[in-house]
Symmetry: C2
Subunit: 347 residues, 2 copies
């Protein structure tokens, strides 16, 4: 038993040890592990018993080497702290597991260089596919990676011919928000946008489109902010100082909405009494007491599942051409929206 006592951890038993003890060949043991049905009852029992007694555990490293396949899907999260990514990662792990794969997560630390390093590690580890959540890298660089393995870009849109993508229809989300506000009686709806940051342009387009569709083109008003709390706060300050108050504000995401909320609060105005506020992303914090932010939700777990399926289509079904999936978002109504005060209901 302790025949190698000088080793800190006992040498793990191999398939050969099991074969010896069971009195069969290593090939048979291997077969029992992979396709138990193809083996006679007696052998199967002998092997299984021996494996049990020795505490044998297949060595995935050796298996991967000969199979040239690790059954691992690499996932690079640009930011571990983003709760949106955490949800998506859950969906990924789940879907991967059900198809016999494992997910290996790694953080990109919001830094393209560290992200690049994380990818390099994944490639050395020979993961079978790569899912990038909110990557900070340039698409051309990602396309180079896609020469070695299937890559899916999640949460970013692309028309690439080699990397797949799955994203949310940001335009539709913004439209839904405007539609809802209009249904509540709003017409003076201002949009804080985040410039050309990922996702923002499409949200802006949806906003403008919906405003025009409702005949409120003249009320379109865009204020530059950012995807951050302070970006939202500054933009809101600009709006308040302009003196021309809208009855509703559509923020580019929940963080910005939070900043706007703070600004409105400290100006002594009420939400939604004076101004209705809508965020985007439906982060967990949007549901917190005292916050209760109306926002646009994204089917996160579905996104994860879809990303895995895209990888597996290339791996197991030999798909060659890129696919780009777009899933629709949904509106989540909470406490920061309501009808505008009567005197401003227009008409």
């Amino acid at each position: 038993m302790l025949y190698r006592e000088w080793e800190k951890f006992l040498k793990q038993p191999t398939i050969l040890d099991v074969a010896d003890r069971a009195g069969v060949s290593k090939s048979l043991v291997s077969l029992v592990m992979r396709e138990p049905d193809r083996v006679s009852d007696a052998s199967r029992k002998a092997v299984l018993d021996a494996a049990q007694e020795l505490g044998y555990r297949p060595n995935a490293v050796a298996r991967s080497l000969v199979q040239r396949r690790t059954n691992v899907i690499g996932v690079i999260l640009s930011d571990l702290h983003n709760p949106f990514f955490a949800d998506v990662a859950d969906g990924i792990e789940d879907a991967a597991f059900q198809r016999g794969y494992r997910a290996m997560l790694s953080s990109g630390f919001l830094d393209p260089n560290r992200e690049r390093g994380a990818i390099e590690t994944m490639l050395e580890l020979r993961v079978d596919g790569l899912i990038m959540l909110g990557s900070m890298m340039k698409v051309v660089d990602i396309e180079k990676v896609a020469a070695s393995l299937p890559v899916t870009l999640l949460g970013r849109h692309t028309r690439s011919k080699v990397v797949d993508s799955v994203g949310v229809d940001d335009s539709a989300g913004a439209e839904a928000a405007v539609d809802y506000l209009v249904s509540q009686g709003h017409s003076k709806i201002t949009h804080i946008h985040a410039g050309s940051a990922a996702g923002s342009p499409r949200r802006r387009i949806g906003y403008e489109k919906a405003m025009r569709r409702h005949g409120f083109g003249k009320h379109i008003r865009l204020v530059k902010g950012a995807f951050t709390e302070s970006g939202g706060a500054k933009a809101m300050t600009t709006i308040l100082e302009s003196g021309d108050l809208p009855t509703a504000v559509l923020a580019p995401n929940d963080f910005a909405a939070l900043g706007a909320m703070e600004t409105i609060d400290s100006a002594g105005l009420s939400i939604p009494g004076d101004i209705s506020l809508v965020g985007y992303d439906n982060l967990a914090l949007a549901a917190l007491p005292r916050i209760g932010l109306t926002t646009i939700g994204q089917p996160r777990v579905d996104l994860g599942r879809d990303a895995v399926h895209l990888i597996l289509e290339r791996l197991d079904e030999n798909r060659e051409s890129a696919r780009h999936l777009v899933v629709p978002p949904n509106l989540v109504v909470r406490a920061t929206t309501g009808p505008p005060r009567v005197h401003s209901t227009g008409l």
Copy 2:
């Protein structure tokens, strides 16, 4: 070039391809990759150039097989969504990377069975060490795992002789909270606890100890809640309905504090005017506008770093006996605490 066109992805070049092209032996190539200094300048350049031209990337799977070491540390997060774990994971990835290791994250989905499965996968993958963040499993089961590799338990205390642990001094944190409240003039401080849930007993002990130390033993009051928002809300309701209001409440964690906050709000009482409130954990949400929760912070990144070091001590320095690290927490003062109203300042 496309000599294997039928393959979806080009066969990756191996060390042999590089050796051929550089006109040297495979052993030399291997040496260049590992210890470039031991090779003549000419050979080094030839090999590096050849590798570059072929796009060679070392195969970590093959290397791991022969070295019987993967240079990967497995990390099981009981819950990906817990922002506390995300911070710690950051610290782990960072520290591991600096020591030449990679971290492989996996979620336990808050379910002991799935956690068990995640461990099994890690073991098959032959990770070199395992860090468990907030594990839901029994310590005896984890100790069995520790027979195969070094295991560090993080965020849970244990006296185990085989698994290491690193945790926060929960008792000291609760003491610090009480000390601060007393310094503000409070004496009627009530503690909502979470029964025997991980961490709660120590926090309660710290509370009681500090209360006695200040001579407020008679004001010790414990109300059973839980580590959840609803748990905090219910406990707070109990307190309010008792009619005997404390001037300050120490919640078992931030979520519970949030629930308590909601209850106090809807009772029409003010924070901190009527009741000061202290949480525990310093989650990101504690810093949000409108929330501004005073709470006990934990040095998360340090925790991660320490956990990695514990693993590496066993791996690289042959430590045999278990170590249990305890790091001190720190108080973060925000808006939910202040002096009690004058009429209740006691004396």
